[in-house]
């Protein structure tokens, strides 16, 4: 069974479109994250939710809107996609908010904006 799953795995779309990426974890964790990994492999946190509440919101354009319907799901909606949004987006989860908690990552969603 996949612990942290993301859909879709690949997403190719035109500039200006709106798209969503979904994430689900079946580990019973309280905290979920969205990361963006650019072409140089730099992994940057975007958002973090703990029990459906937003706890980290990095300097991310407000075109990106996370939504957590329950603590097992954290979706990412992106409006008006731009070329610079092309990257791999990873969802992750951890038991709590402690920095020493192991984070469990999904397989990633490769977003290509044309």
């Amino acid at each position: 069974d996949t612990a942290v799953s993301q859909t879709p795995k690949y997403l190719v779309t035109q500039m200006g479109n709106d798209k969503s990426i979904k994430c689900e974890q079946n580990l019973g964790h309280d905290t979920m994250y969205w990361y963006k990994q650019d072409s140089k492999k730099f992994l940057k946190i975007m958002f973090s939710y703990n029990n459906k509440e937003l706890i980290i919101n990095e300097t991310v354009p407000n075109r990106f809107s996370p939504k957590s319907p329950d603590k097992a799901h954290l979706n990412l909606h992106i409006n008006s996609l731009e070329l610079g949004d092309s990257a791999v987006y990873f969802c992750a989860s951890s038991p709590g908010v402690a920095g020493g908690d192991t984070q469990y990552f999904g397989p990633g969603t490769r977003l290509t904006v044309l």
């Binding site: 942290v4 990361y35 140089k40 492999k41 730099f42 992994l43 940057k44 946190i45 973090s48 980290i56 990095e58 990873f90 992750a92 908010v97 402690a98 920095g99 020493g100 192991t102 984070q103 469990y104 990552f105 999904g106 397989p107 990633g108």
Partner: protein, 112 residues
């Protein structure tokens, strides 16, 4: 600037050799973790070392932490082709809740 920076950025060795990767960071930390990322996959946790620990082992992995130098090293002994991956350090800054920050990674290639 990034909290964790791995060095070297790329490393190529022969199977059976040892691989050493370093991570430097800027602020004091509660702990430091190492993760592995295989090509096209998510990160996988390898090992955590706390700020009051100096060395930790897990199988063929050995991690050291020098808080005075704000650096850590990951040693993989007797490397295998399957160890080919990118390795990231992640630091948990001390002083209240702050986000864990990942470095830019070391890309390791183990040649069979």
């Amino acid at each position: 600037s990034q909290q964790g920076e791995e060095d070297p950025q790329a490393l190529s060795i022969q199977e059976g050799e040892n691989a050493t990767m370093n991570c430097s960071y800027k602020t004091s930390i509660n702990n430091l973790q190492w993760y592995r990322q295989n090509s096209g996959r998510g990160l996988v946790h390898l090992i955590l070392i706390r700020s009051n620990e100096r060395e930790k082992h897990s199988g063929r992995l050995r991690v050291t932490l020098d808080t005075s130098k704000k650096s850590s090293s990951l040693l993989i002994t007797a490397s295998r082709a399957a160890d080919t991956a990118s390795y990231f350090c992640a630091t948990d800054p001390s002083g209240g809740y702050q986000k864990v920050t990942f470095g830019i990674g070391t890309k390791l290639q183990v040649i069979p």
